[in-house]
Amino acid sequence: MIEFDHAWRTYGAKTAVADLSLSIPRGELFALLGPNGAGKTTTIRMLVGLLRPSRGAVRVCGRDLVRQTREAHLHIGYVPDEPCLYDKLTGREFLWFIADMFGLPRHVSQRRIEREIETFELGEFADDLAESYSLGMKQRLVFAAALLHDPDVLVLDEPMVGLDPRSVRIVKDLLEDRTREGMTVFMSTHTLALAEEMADRVGIMVRGQLRFLGTVGELRKQMSLESTSLEQLYLELTAPGAAGPRRRRQETPDSPH
């Protein structure tokens, strides 16, 4: 479903993402972790076609994000870190606009808009102008818009920011249901508990490089920290000067941690 093929992205002389190779199959929930400035947002922006890789390729459902951008976009739903809405449109008008841009027939749009309004409990304010929404309301609306066309791939950049506990629960349950149905989720987050709870696999990125890729259990195993939380593992791995888990094990195979 998602494929990063030796993807690089530089900002002038600085490398934001270095030689990222990653394949995420259908129905997987993947969480990308890493400290600030690690390259997570750059990775996500390459995945949604906002940025082009300096080298390598990014593909979604076999469509190259550079050469077949529009075709790839048909398969992607995107929830950015900062929700962007039209202040002078109501929530419902915004959803109609998004459904229209994805070329959904009117009757399908109608049903799906009602479905998302119900799912995200938008009914109370769906007909108010977006300029009057709180951050959480905006975030719920953006979620609804991203799911309207039933994307094969859902890309989430810090999805839980601004959501209240009930909305967080709704999103978690929805992600669970949708991944079971075959949707692939690519999520960047700082909320380690969320990744630990939901992700099938996690990737930990440090200074543009993927330091670890696998399940939380595999990470524990590799770092010889069987009973430690993901938070502790994460801090170990992303500490300044820390080496990757494989290299670390090779160098000090018996070091107690």
């Binding site: 002038g12 529009r70 900062e82 841009m101 994805f102 027939p105 479905r115 799911l147 949708r178």
Partner: protein
């Protein structure tokens, strides 16, 4: 919700999968989006900002009417001259406008295509890049050309009326204006796409050099036209020289020439006689030429957008930002460190605002452009010979212009400062700084910052006009009072009516408080200038016309040195009132304000 699980009904509904839209469908959807937004904005304005809307309409009508009157007078005067004079003026006007439209549309599109949240959203949808370009282009054209419509329509209507144009002239006027605007606007858009997409590294340099070169050319043309031919103006030789210098604007390949020729032809057109019908056909040919070129350029721009927009967006987003120097400037250090310990927080707040101003290109660039253009104009005022009374009047008018320009800056940039500070009040609120100091720091920043450029400009204007020292002193006192009063109005009202929800300074300035600040500022400027100008004018008129024409009664006293001194005292009182009253209201409101 039961068992810790929310009632999620988001089951995927089988249905038609998403599909790509045709070009027409994309354009239709984006047009619908624009219509809905515009309609909603209009409804909000009618419901919540009637005063502002009413003021805008009334002031626009007033402005339009004044321009119409001015142009009618000018065309009536020019009717007695050679027919080529009109053509020359039209060509000069439209060609200058063309250059301005290229740059203004290019700059607006640059921020619309590469810096807006909307563009970021649209780029993640399955939309063609050329459709996004077209969508943002319409917006940029609207914002860059409304001035042309406001300035150009009274001129063209006045020309038609003076020249006795038939209905065909008025019917063709709007299509001519629209089809003309599309050409420079599209060229500006293409320039923007080209610079960002193909030569991103040279982008800013090229833009700066282009702007600088255009400004220099415009300044050179204006200077050479006005400074030529010694002191004799409006004689045959002067006209001949001026025609020669402006010949560059009469090139037949320029759309401005097509427009002016088409308009002149259409003013002679009609359906009554064969000559009129022939002129109508000629005018329609020019219109067709404009439309055809506009459409061709639109096609080329669409192609360019398809080829470069996405790649340009990516390049621009991935450009390395230069690192700022860690050490602060000498001026900042001096301002922070020199002075009493008690006033240090106030000075530090001013230094912070100064840094924000220096690093916000949109603020200082507009400041430099507007005050630079004023300086250019003031340099040129000596090209004409005036008697003392006119010199004094022009001096006061120049003072009013400096004040009006300053008032637009205080409304646009100073008024929103408190509202913007309110959003990050948790930083300042936790510091050992009295709330009053925050408001006073804004006032001092605006007042001291505007003092030097404004007083410098007034001094330049007076020097170029050759005014005597007493008049220069009067003007400078007025200028100081204007700077103080305008800063007080903007900061005081900004603190009295803050908008803490809005993050965009332009939207804060465009609200009710900002509009009120602009209106009060304009009234204050007019009052100050009239109070100061009247006695001086009477004094100079009395001296130039002799004792027989001297004013009587109160006017005799007003036109004496005592009257001038009294008027200066009134100006100082007005300045202090305009400062103290809004600041008092603002400080009181800001002290009481509850911030989350």
């Amino acid at each position: 919700m039961s068992g810790g699980r929310a009632s999620v009904s988001g089951i995927r509904i089988p249905g038609d999968p998403p599909r790509l839209l045709t070009v027409e469908q994309e354009a239709g959807r984006l047009l619908l989006l624009r219509t809905l937004s515009a309609w909603s904005t209009l409804r909000s304005m009618l419901a919540g900002a009637r005063l502002r809307l009413g003021l805008v309409v009334v002031l626009s009508l007033l402005f339009w009417g004044s321009l119409y009157g001015l142009f009618t007078e000018a065309f009536t005067f020019l009717e007695s001259m050679h027919a080529d004079v009109i053509s020359l003026l039209f060509n000069a006007f439209f060609s200058s406008l063309m250059v301005m439209l290229v740059f203004s549309t290019g700059i607006l599109l640059y921020s619309g295509l590469y810096g807006s949240a909307e563009a970021r959203l649209l780029l993640t949808l399955p939309v063609r890049p050329e459709a996004i370009f077209s969508h943002k282009f319409q917006e940029a054209v609207w914002f860059s050309s409304w001035g042309f419509v406001l300035l150009g329509s009274p001129m063209l209507v006045a020309y038609g009326r003076v020249h006795g144009g038939a209905w065909t002239y008025y019917a063709l006027m709007l299509p001519f204006m629209i089809s003309f605007v599309v050409i420079p606007a599209t060229l500006g858009g293409m320039l923007c796409l080209f610079l960002v997409g193909w030569i991103p590294k040279l982008r800013l340099h090229a833009l700066s050099i282009g702007l600088l070169a255009s400004s220099l050319i415009a300044a050179w043309v204006a200077w050479s036209v006005l400074a030529a031919g010694g002191s004799e103006r409006l004689n045959a030789a002067w006209f001949e020289q001026t025609f020669g210098r402006l010949a560059v604007t009469e090139q037949r390949v320029l759309p401005s020439w097509w427009l002016s020729s088409g308009l002149i032809e259409s003013s002679r057109s009609g359906l009554a006689s064969p000559d009129e019908r022939s002129s109508l056909a000629e005018a329609c040919k020019f219109l067709a030429l404009l439309i055809a070129n506009g459409l061709l350029l639109q096609m080329l721009a669409g192609w360019l957008a398809r080829a470069t927009y996405r790649v340009g967006y990516s390049h621009l987003a991935c450009e390395a930002t230069p690192r700022r120097q860690k050490r602060s400037g000498r001026f900042d250090s001096l301002l922070s460190d020199v002075g009493s310990r008690a006033s240090r927080p106030l000075r530090l707040l001013i230094v912070k605002d100064l840094r924000l101003f220096r690093r916000d290109v949109s603020q200082w660039s507009q400041f430099v452009i507007f005050f630079g253009l004023l300086a250019l104009y003031f340099f040129n005022v000596r090209s004409f010979d005036y008697n003392n009374t006119y010199k004094s009047m022009i001096g006061f008018l120049n003072l009013a212009v400096v004040g009006l320009i300053l008032s637009t800056f205080t409304t646009r940039f100073v008024y929103p400062m408190i509202s913007l500070e309110g959003r990050r009040f948790w930083i300042l609120g936790l510091l050992p700084v009295h709330r009053d100091q925050i408001v006073w720091s804004k006032f001092l920043f605006a007042f001291l910052g505007s003092l030097l450029p404004c007083c410098g400009l007034v001094w330049l204007s007076d020097t170029m006009l050759g005014l005597g020292t007493p008049l220069v002193v009067v003007h400078e006192i007025c200028c100081v009072m204007l700077c103080m009063g305008l800063s007080g109005i903007a900061v005081g009202l900004g603190a009295r009516m803050p908008d803490l929800r809005e993050s965009s300074p332009s939207k804060i300035a465009a609200g009710f408080g900002g509009t009120l600040s602009l209106v009060i500022s304009s009234l204050f400027i007019m009052t100050v200038v009239i109070v100061a100008a009247l006695p001086t004018h009477l004094y100079l008129a009395t001296r130039s016309l002799g004792p027989d024409a001297a004013a009587r009664g109160l006017f005799t006293w007003l036109g004496s040195p005592g009257g001038i001194t009294a008027s200066v005292a009134v100006v100082v009182a007005l300045g202090l009132t305009a400062t103290i009253l809004p600041m008092f209201l603002g400080l009181r409101a800001f002290r009481r304000m509850e911030l989350a």
